[in-house]
Amino acid sequence: MKDKINLALAQISSKRENKEANLQKIEDLTFKAKEQGADIIIFPELSLSGYVVRDQVYELAETIPGPTVEKLEKLAKKTGMHVICGMPELSEKTQATCFNTAVLVGPQGLVGKYRKMYLPTHSVFEEKRYFRPGYQTAAFQTELGNIGLCICYDIFFPEVLRLTRLKGAQLIVCISASPAVRRSYFETLTCARAIENTAFLAYVNLAGVQDGLQFWGGSRLVSPSGDVLAKAKYDEEDFVICEVDYGDLRTAETFIPTLKDLRPELFDKLKESSELL
């Protein structure tokens, strides 16, 4: 496993219902990232299909593995890169059960996927109408370290990222499609989740406008101590290369040892109390 890796935060504006154009952009930026020395490139939530696609999701969703993932696998193999991308996933067992999924591929093929657990269905969001929630957190051991995945609204629920960290994730990747009015929440939560889990947190958000929703960009890499190590522009497409130095984990874990100090018995209480809310 490498001690240090380079991330490419690919803050793109995706074209809705145009997987071909989005895949082309993913491909172009992956080659660009490779040229600039990145080991892994991260694209936003549902960047393959666009975020506001409503009923069209049934036409856009694909199984994983499936045709798009095969293309991503070829891309990863060709470039020697790891690629994380958000896409609507179709269950292999049904014809219209979809998930909001983050997929991770590497030079050896599909590494794994994560299905969004918390689907916002309030305000302008209607994700539960279209997606089934996931039931598993995800952390994958790779040659680039242990990489955990989560998606957007999941970050409001500390238990998701805590479980991801406890599964071993050293770098938690949160892909997102967050509209502008929520910027301050995410800017706070990305730092909080990194600090409380003593893990690196890479947040990659969409840019651009879809049905009046303006995605605020602002993708970033946060250190295990909560420092923003790299930050993309607000609102516009941007591309940022940044470095994760896993050596920093020890420093953070010894300074504020949140994992050492975990109290498992509280989680039982948490379960009991949340059932009674």
């Binding site: 506001v52 009923d55 502008a180 651009g208 406008v209 303006q214």
Partner: protein, 280 residues
């Protein structure tokens, strides 16, 4: 939450940036050659003119002045021209008087004393002009409705609110006044009493029966799911006033939606046909 006008003090530079990006992206994605807007000489259309000009360049924005004899105001025309000049807009004047006169004559039941029906006819006629120009020159119609009037249903259905985009519809009137000053709209124009100009001496605040400073705080409280009694107590006004605003807001939802069809099919237009807008 303590209801006070300071709550409506948003970052106006940020709002300008967001609205301009929204306009620019929409125009580009629609494959359109620009914007047509009605230029009345009032604050809302002046604000929209300024934002459109900054978003896509004044040369791509056509401001239509649509006077008619009953409500003619040279001052409004001068104010509209002032805005057009300041923000480098293209302009055109279309006198609607003859068209309106024909309309009045062609309607067997036309009642000249029913100023509401007559006024709505004017608002809808303005819409016809705007869409003619949009159609002819491959532009989109940019509406200037604000949040206060839209929530209150204070507009003509299929009239002044008919547009392809409404960039300031999420801002209350008191916020638009501040945005207008931020954009450099002349202060005397910002201070002019708002009017839909459907008949002489009509003003919005008189018709709504409430000052915008109070109305906006009531609407803001309702937006934030506050109870009417809480709003009334905080603003030190009678609960009946807040209830009246709330009832008017709820009663006018039909003006803010597509026409309602009965549910018969598998997926229904305007109901559970949920599709993305392709030109945004």
């Amino acid at each position: 939450m303590k209801l006070a006008l300071s709550l409506l003090d948003i970052d106006f530079s940020e709002a300008e940036k967001r609205i301009c990006r929204f306009i620019k992206e929409y125009v580009e994605n629609a494959g359109s050659k620009g914007i047509v807007l009605g230029l009345s000489g009032g604050i809302d259309s002046g604000t929209i003119a300024a934002l459109s000009s900054r978003a896509i360049g004044g040369g791509n924005v056509l401001g239509l002045m649509l006077p008619e004899e009953e409500n003619f105001s040279q001052k409004d025309i001068e104010d509209a021209k002032l805005v057009a000049e300041k923000f480098n807009l293209q302009t055109q004047i279309c006198d609607m008087s003859s068209v309106l006169s024909c309309l009045y004559k062609s309607i067997p039941v036309f009642d000249p004393n029913d100023r509401l029906c007559k006024g709505n006819l004017k608002a809808r006629t303005r819409m016809i002009y705007l869409y003619y120009y949009a159609n002819k020159f491959n532009k989109i119609v940019c509406g200037s409705s604000d949040k206060s009037e839209t929530m209150m249903g204070y507009f003509t259905k299929w009239g002044d609110v008919a547009a392809d985009i409404t960039p300031i519809m999420d801002l209350y009137k008191t916020q638009i006044r501040k945005l207008a000053i931020h954009l450099g709209i002349p202060k005397e124009l910002v201070l002019k009493p708002s009017t839909p100009a459907l008949w002489p001496n009509q003003t919005a605040e008189n018709e709504l029966g409430i000052k915008y400073e109070t109305l906006d705080l009531i609407l803001y409280g309702l937006e934030k799911f506050m109870k009417t009694i809480e709003i009334a107590n905080q603003l030190n006004i009678q609960k009946t006033i807040v209830d009246a605003v709330k009832n008017r807001w709820l009663a006018n939802e039909h003006k803010r939606k597509m026409p309602l069809p009965p549910k018969i099919g598998y997926r229904t237009v305007g109901n559970d046909f949920r599709l993305p807008r392709h030109t945004y």
